[in-house]
Symmetry: C2
Subunit: 156 residues, 2 copies
DNA sequence: ATAAATGTTGTATATTTATGCATATTTAAA
DNA sequence: TTTAAATATGCATAAATATACAACATTTAT
């Protein structure tokens, strides 16, 4: 049954978009979208999603996808690092060569590594140049398009 | 009474060092350090500290200082940015001049800004140079010492 | 110094959340 | 298809957590 999958998706969305402070409230919202489950199931769903209840600044509590937020912050930083240093990229065979501002190669390479692209097998950095070994069978077009889709903030 | 302050400190420490999954458990730990309070008080303490209970990867839950973690991650990144680009710093009057590797000035200036040092009024970046306007009355020694104390990772 | 305001705590309790168990549903295997 | 294993769910309830209220302590203002 992927009733549950759908439900998890909606729950995520609801938690991101609203400040919800109890499972009861969330149940009502779900019910309004025609997902009718009990609090028990919801509790298990939240556990699966690793949702936690965090104390609000002023008063009360709200549910939050902490782990995801952490990841997002870190991802944004990587993208910033790339955008800051990036000059150009060219391909030849299974190699991608990135040119960067002087001194930025390490940073850019590190950021690419952190993004954990499955298309890249490895990177190596000089001062203003990064070599990337691309997985066989990928065209530069494939690669760039996928990259831009996955990381909309990336100006490449 | 700063009984509470002390207690909050210990609680933070305990949460960082152990995987605690209920206030009962934490109460026991506290009691072993001669802090004897009720669950009600502990609940309020955790709220003050913005501690939240997060689902563990495999099973169960644990308390965590999410917000602090987020801040720490971000701080570490700033320090990395500075260390990566930093060459030297010199002072004249209320100005500090940071030299960086070529192209790193923006990054370094941004990182300094993000650290939110109250000694710095503002920064401006060229390509390999950052100007910082320092708050009146600060000596370079004051400034650097305070900086190193607050950010032990900083190699300046 | 006294009164008023603010902050801290415990008690008792309400509220919220997690889970054992039985049942139903889905998926995989024969 | 039938059967077996795995997964999902509800019900009931246990366990965990938050809070209203009253008492007391501390700080601030007069």
């Amino acid at each position: 049954m992927n009733e549950r999958k759908d439900r998890l998706k909606i729950i995520k969305k609801m938690i991101k978009e609203n400040k919800i402070d109890s499972q009861e409230k969330l149940l009502e919202l779900l019910s309004s979208k025609n997902f009718n489950v009990t609090q028990a199931t919801l509790s298990r769903d939240l556990k699966l999603l690793k949702v936690s209840k965090v104390p609000d600044t002023d008063r009360g509590y709200y549910y939050s996808l902490v782990e995801e937020e952490l990841q997002k912050v870190s991802e944004e930083r990587n993208i910033m690092d790339i955008n800051r240093g990036f000059l150009s990229i060219n391909f030849s065979g299974n190699m991608g060569v990135v040119r960067t501002f002087s001194g930025h190669a390490m940073t850019v390479a590190l950021a690419f590594d952190n993004l954990e692209l499955e298309e890249i097998i490895g990177t190596i950095a000089g001062d203003d140049t990064v070599f990337m070994v691309i997985k066989e069978g990928m065209t530069p077009e494939n690669f760039l398009e996928g990259l831009r889709n996955r990381f909309p903030g990336l100006e490449i």
